[in-house]
């Protein structure tokens, strides 16, 4: 079930109604209802993989308790590695086996040895990268005595499988979400309205901007050899906005939906394209994943405490692993590597925490230096997205080669891209709304400050009609494949 489907439009009000009107008196029933709804939500995609989700949940629940109950450090470690091994094993089989097998065969053939490991014909269970990381963070936190295990299986299962975050995050932490699950939740009008508004903004970004940019980006990326350099750049820009609006749109819908049930999820995006350097970009893009890697990989590897070389090594490791997390393809690894290179100056000159606050805080316009910094950061980010989008490394380099030709000076062509000007205009409008709202949790939140209800509602109706106009065929979210 997709957030941008009619099914979800029916599903959500039903769950909301049952949650606040039928199960309202009892937290246990509320959690049970949310869990059942979450499993239903997941099974709409493929019910067979529900067993994998339940198995993974049971494993982490059980190993969490075992780790906590073990008195000897060695036993704790054994249980931890069982959980980590099995979780990563599943991820490895479903997501990475074919990649490793193929890469191994290619490497062997370079040495003149012919090998055949075969390939697995299995589909990637949706959300496996996300719920695996939920479970891992839980057992690792217990191992390091940061939290105590959750004894109630329903509560723990809900932590892993809560439907708004189940298939594409945000990657929650037990320290943040579990306390909310075990505590009685009261209905809050402002929170619910804020949730609905955030859902509306997420739908606008997904249906209007991301889906349309996707069509144009696909048109250009799939026919790049016949395009001018300027059109190729336009294709990369379309993808840049596609991936942002797709994923941040999804996150907005997830956060908004959770708010309707009185649950506050981790923020996943904070206007990354307004970043002044790459370090800031990574504090604002897919925040829950970046902080996960920081806490569970970068810091255990020694973080920045072991001198400059260790810091550089660890930075490269987390960026390459992060790239690999996105998919079993060399393009993602190069994308991660590029970002590691981008961030190096900040690491070496220790300027990576120069830009903590949002740009031009308290002012409407940024200063000249900020504009230049944003422009440079945005440009290098767009360049890196080419690798993320390309189907393979060769295509990525061919695409880049096409950019650097004389035709870069010509006007971009919009052949086969119906209504592209309208979409460009709507993307600019979205950009400006996000700029207005950059000091809030999400772009549209500034509308809550309008004094007159008529103004607020006018804005909502306008967005709804644009969404309706551009709705139609359901399109999956990009991050479902990760």
């Amino acid at each position: 079930m997709l957030f941008n489907s009619i099914d979800f439009l029916i599903f959500l009000p039903i769950v909301f109604f049952l949650y606040w009107f039928v199960a309202n008196k009892n937290l246990k029933y509320q959690n049970l209802l949310l869990l059942a709804s979450s499993y239903y939500f997941y099974s709409c995609w493929d019910w067979r993989f529900l067993f994998l989700l339940i198995f993974s949940t049971q494993l982490d629940y059980y190993t969490g308790i075992k780790i906590f109950n073990s008195t000897r450090r060695t036993n704790k470690k054994i249980w931890l590695w069982i959980s980590v091994g099995v979780n990563l094993g599943f991820l490895g089989v479903f997501k990475y086996y074919n990649f490793f097998a193929e890469s191994f065969e290619q490497a062997m053939s370079l040495l003149g040895i012919k090998t055949s490991l075969g390939s697995l014909k299995v589909i990637l269970p949706v959300g496996i990268s996300f719920y695996t990381f939920h479970g891992l963070s839980y057992v690792i936190d217990i191992y390091y005595d940061r939290i105590k295990p959750e004894r109630n299986f329903i509560n723990y299962s809900l932590f892993v499988s809560f439907f708004p975050l189940l298939v594409a995050g945000p990657i929650e932490r037990a320290t943040h979400l579990l306390p909310q699950i075990v505590k009685k939740r009261d209905f809050n009008y402002r929170n619910a309205v804020d949730g609905l508004r955030q859902i509306l903004w997420g739908l606008f970004k997904k249906i209007v901007i991301a889906n349309n940019c996707a069509e144009f980006a696909d048109t250009i990326f799939n026919n790049n050899s016949h395009q001018s350099g300027s059109t190729i750049i336009l294709g990369a820009l379309f993808f840049t906005y596609q991936i942002y609006c797709d994923f941040s749109g999804y996150s907005d819908i997830a956060l908004g939906t959770a708010k309707l049930f009185g649950i506050d999820l981790l923020r996943n995006f904070s206007y990354p394209y307004f970043s002044r350097d790459i370090a800031e970009f990574w504090r604002r893009w897919h925040i829950s994943l970046s902080s996960w890697f920081k806490d569970y990989l970068y810091i255990p590897l020694g973080g920045s405490k072991g001198g400059m070389w260790l810091k550089i090594r660890n930075t490269f490791i987390i960026f390459i692993v992060s790239g690999f997390w996105h998919g079993a393809n060399w393009t993602f690894i190069i994308w991660g590597l590029l970002n590691a290179i981008y961030i190096m100056p900040s690491i070496i000159f220790n300027t990576n925490r120069n830009n903590i606050e949002i740009v031009a805080k308290g002012n409407f316009f940024p200063n000249f230096r900020e504009i230049i910094s944003i422009g440079i950061t945005f440009t290098v980010t767009v360049f890196a997205w080419i690798f993320f989008r390309a189907s393979n490394v060769t295509n990525a380099f061919l695409y880049i080669k096409e950019i650097f030709s004389y035709s870069i000076l010509s006007l971009p062509k919009f052949e086969g891209m119906k209504n592209s000007y309208v979409i460009l205009l709507l993307t600019f409008i979205m950009f400006f709304i996000e700029w207005f709202g950059r000091e809030y949790q999400y772009g549209l939140a500034f509308v809550s400050k309008f004094k007159h209800r008529k103004m607020r509602w006018f804005m909502y109706y306008l967005l709804i009609f644009i969404i309706i106009y551009y709705s139609g065929k359901e399109q999956q979210f990009i991050y479902f494949q990760f």
Partner: protein, 318 residues
């Protein structure tokens, strides 16, 4: 909670009201008598999918109206015809394209698969009665519900604009078909792949298409309008040409009483085709001039039309 429910209901009610108004105006605009009126000089109506749409230039054939429409299967043609015939008593003949692709099961997907239904359903919905609606809902209700919001606003908004504000009818806005002179010529870029099209030559019949074709024939008969099948020219490498035996079988088994005006062997060079299935502007002009000549020679009144056509083609081109 009460506050939220009240605000939400109020908000939704206004939204619903706006949508209802758009829906009502859009729906009723196609159901007024003016919309489907065509020229009183038109005695012949051409219907079908993109083949006749690209073949019959009604600037050349003056007493004919071409309302062929790309991607239109007989289900949708029937809906259109139900509106046109009662309002245009001057129409004496309907020429309906019946060529090889019409007996291929691809017509099922053209009728109800997602990509087609998204475009066709919202446009033809105002023309449906209960049984038509029931039929299409039974085939792909999910796609219909998914395309409802966007395409309804799109279509109905256009209907309102076209019919109430611009006062344009079916002919001028081409939403339900009309002559389309293709400027392209892709024949030379398409290699001869007839061997791979052999798979199209199976025995499966698109019963939905045949069923609605029968309804069209019956509807014309009940309105005392003479109906002919027509097969406009296509390239010798046209992929559906491989199912000729099935085509003949369907024609003979279900529509033996309907006469076929067959122009598949009409002489044209490769440059006269937009692609293997469609004539381009040049091809349609050549064909239309020839067809107009045949009409003037009394084609529709001839007893043995097939021989007459064959002889005329031979006389003019060999």
């Amino acid at each position: 909670m009460k506050k939220l429910l009240f605000s939400f209901s109020y908000f939704t009610a206004i939204l619903g009201l706006i949508i209802l108004v758009v829906f009502y105006l859009g729906y009723s605009s196609l159901n007024n008598s003016r919309y489907f009126k065509i020229s009183t000089d038109s005695k012949i109506l051409v219907l079908g999918h993109s083949h006749p749409e690209c073949a019959f230039n009604n600037r050349i054939i003056l007493n004919l109206t071409n309302l062929g429409k790309s991607g239109e299967t007989y289900f949708y043609t029937y809906l259109k015809l139900k509106k046109i015939l009662p309002q245009n008593k001057q129409i004496k003949f309907v020429l309906l394209e019946f060529e090889n692709s019409e007996v291929d099961t691809v017509m099922n997907s053209w009728t109800w698969d997602d990509s087609h239904i998204y475009h066709m359903f919202p446009r033809y919905f105002p023309l449906m009665d209960k049984s038509d609606l029931k039929f299409i809902l039974s085939k792909n209700s999910k796609a219909i519900f998914n395309c409802l919001p966007r395409n309804f606003i799109n279509e109905f908004g256009f209907n309102i604009y076209s019919n109430y504000l611009k006062k344009k009818g079916i002919i001028s806005n081409k939403r339900f078909g009309g002559y389309n002179g293709l400027k392209r010529n892709k024949v030379d870029t398409i290699t001869n792949n007839s061997s791979k099209y052999k798979s199209l030559n199976n025995n499966a019949i698109p019963f939905c298409n045949v069923f609605y074709l029968q309804k069209i024939v019956n509807f014309c008969n009940s309105n005392k309008v003479k109906i002919f099948f027509i097969r406009s020219p296509f390239h010798r490498n046209y992929k559906y040409a491989v199912n000729e035996s099935k085509y003949n079988m369907v024609k003979k088994k279900y529509f033996s009483r309907v006469e076929l005006l067959d122009f598949k062997d009409f002489h044209l060079s490769s440059t006269d085709y937009g692609d293997l299935g469609h004539l381009n502007y040049s091809g349609s002009n050549k064909f239309s001039i020839f067809f107009n000549k045949l009409l003037n020679l009394g084609l529709l009144d001839k007893v043995d039309k097939a021989t007459f056509i064959k002889n005329e083609i031979h006389k003019n081109y060999y």
